[in-house]
């Protein structure tokens, strides 16, 4: 059946009312989209920071990553997660707000962040 005819018939049918409905989901605002940072050409000689939510064995995982990267990239150095505080705690908003400033202080080139689980 032609959809338009179907609609007209439905509108006339009082036993089965016809509805024109709106979405409960608002559209995202255009200004919401952001760009990622430019990646590094190499990790040689760079400063990396570990940023941790103090969960899911990050205290074991970060040293393994650090050790393996040091073997591959000469001159690479790391800033310990203790310098930033937990990114998942009652202070997390403050910790995240302060991240940019702290990363600049430590002259950090890239961040390894975790653990999402």
């Amino acid at each position: 059946m032609d959809p338009e005819i179907h609609i007209i018939m439905m509108k006339k049918n009082t036993m089965h009312p016809f509805y024109e409905v709106y979405s409960p989901q608002p559209a995202r605002l255009k200004s919401h989209t952001k760009n990622l940072a430019t990646r590094l050409p190499t990790l040689v000689g760079k400063t990396l920071a570990h940023v941790w939510d103090y969960q899911y064995r990050g205290n074991e995982i970060f040293p393994w990553i650090e050790e393996a990267l040091k073997q591959q990239f000469p001159g690479i150095r790391f800033i310990h997660w203790k310098e930033f505080g937990s990114t998942h705690s009652n202070n997390e908003r403050q910790v995240i707000e302060n991240l940019s400033k702290k990363l600049k202080e430590f002259e950090v080139d890239a961040v390894i962040s975790g653990i999402g689980a």
């Binding site: 509805y19 024109e20 990622l36 050409p41 707000e97 961040v111």
Partner: protein, 466 residues
């Protein structure tokens, strides 16, 4: 993910370590943060379910490759797809077709919804002083604007009456409050929000505060509770198996209303006063709970007789949640205890205020320190925990380490006022109910319900109908 987003926006590239089961949620969160292609580094399996050797092997052989790639290879910067405006009709059809449309587009909870037609939406919009395009804020994780229009549409769908609109607006304002932490609503413990309503509006709109106060079957309590979950789904963006990674989860809760007549009679302050408002102020209070349980037939005619059972009931609802007291988010545990009017009257008769009862619970509900350390250090391995060190650093109150005796009894909250008490339920039964609080993943937040100037006319029109 939020930390990684902050770094990227500061111009510093990131690699986010994400376990296999969290990938879809991480992508959804990244999209909501406006960073569709935030670089994820896969951690196979779950970190806490692997031996050290297996985990190390996975990290060095799989995760590391992603980390190097994420930091050195250019990542896409795709803009989010253009979305249709929501003030346009999205579907036309009969009741069943409309419901099928919403369900198949993941816009309903599976129960039939009331079709949100312009006529119904407009009825809601009339009972708010705000313009329909007013935006209260952007809701994480989906990054959608919490508009007055969207509140009305979801209110209609939930089966609310138009006069509930001021409550729905206050709820969304509470949802946006950073102290509540709505962004955590999709985490694995799967806690669910309990809404408490206080003030004259509870009686005006016939919220139940008697038998079955936590049960569906009362229009106001049920539909406003359902609205909360629909709004979390449709605007905040929490979808099961996607951005909502609740391991088991809970169903949405009906709204809780206190018995304010009894509170007045015994001279106890209602919850709205405890949240910083006046007694005659209409408020909503929200907090998330992972569960709860009733203790039936609490025998006793004095506080001394009642306290052992009451304290044991409180302790039964605190296990891993102790991390919100002494762990990573210290001092944020706020257990909620429901007392029936009969129970509250026993305390009041003995001269106890609500605050006195909280103090009694604080003194009686205690656990051996070694049990708390075992819970956090050995059983859940949430990090590095040592109560003595935390007290020495000054990050925990001294009463958590008054001796080195591992069996010493310590409280389960920082201070007596961390307990919340509400008086509600069957007036004549001697039962209590204790909710297990979710700490910073749903910290209690109260908001005033702003009423339109013609509210008394609205109430009169309801009275005329009924």
């Amino acid at each position: 993910m939020r930390a990684s987003a902050a770094c990227e926006l500061a111009g510093i590239p990131t690699a986010s370590l994400v376990s296999e089961g969290y990938i879809s949620q991480a992508k959804a969160v990244a999209k909501g943060l406006g960073l569709v292609h935030l670089a994820l580094s896969l951690v196979p399996g779950h970190p806490t379910a692997q031996s050290a050797d297996t985990l190390k092997n996975n990290i060095v052989n799989i995760t590391l490759r992603d980390v190097i790639h994420n930091l050195t290879q250019s990542q896409k910067n795709t803009a989010l797809e253009k979305e249709e405006k929501t003030d346009q009709i999205v579907f036309k059809g009969g009741f069943d077709e409309v419901n099928h449309y919403f369900y198949t587009n993941e816009l309903s909870d599976g129960l039939p919804v009331v079709p949100p037609t312009l006529e119904r939406i407009s009825a809601f919009l009339k009972i708010t002083p705000h313009r329909s395009d007013h935006i209260f804020g952007i809701l994480p994780p989906d990054g959608r604007p919490a508009s007055v229009w969207s509140i009305a549409v979801n209110g209609v769908m939930a089966g609310c009456r138009p006069e509930y609109m001021p409550i729905l607006v206050a709820l969304v304002q509470a949802m946006l409050d950073p102290h509540y932490g709505v962004e955590h609503s999709g985490n694995n413990p799967g806690g669910e929000t309990l809404i408490m309503i206080n003030g004259p509006i509870a009686k005006q709109l016939q919220f139940n505060h008697l038998h079955g106060v936590l049960r569906d079957g009362f229009l106001a309590n049920t539909t406003v509770g359902r609205f909360w979950r629909l709004y979390l789904r449709n605007v905040a963006g929490f979808l099961p198996s996607k951005s909502d990674r609740a391991t088991f989860g809970n169903t949405w809760k009906v709204v809780l209303s206190e018995n304010e007549s009894v509170l007045e009679e015994i001279g106890w302050e209602p919850n709205n006063v405890e949240m910083g408002f006046t007694r005659d102020c209409n408020t909503v209070t929200i907090a998330r709970y992972t569960g709860g349980d009733v203790s039936s037939s609490v025998f006793g005619q004095t506080p001394a007789e009642i306290m052992p059972f009451l304290a044991a009931s409180v302790l039964r609802q605190v296990s891993w949640q102790i991390m919100f007291t002494v762990g990573q988010s210290q001092g944020s545990l706020r257990p909620l205890i429901l007392l029936t009017p009969a129970m509250a009257r026993i305390f009041a008769k003995a001269g106890c205020s609500k605050q006195d009862v909280k103090q009694l619970i604080f003194e009686h509900a205690r656990l051996p320190a070694c049990h708390i350390e075992r819970l956090l250090r050995d059983w859940t391995r949430k990090g590095i925990w040592n109560i003595a060190d935390e007290v020495k650093k000054g990050t925990l109150p001294k009463h958590f380490h008054e001796s080195d005796d591992p069996e010493r009894l310590v409280p389960i909250v920082w201070k007596a006022t961390d307990y919340m008490i509400a008086v509600t339920g069957d007036e004549l039964r001697n039962d209590v109910y204790v909710f297990a609080h979710n700490g910073i993943l749903g910290y209690p937040v109260g908001k005033k319900i702003e009423l339109p100037a013609d509210w008394s006319d609205v109430i009169k029109s309801i009275e005329n109908i009924s």
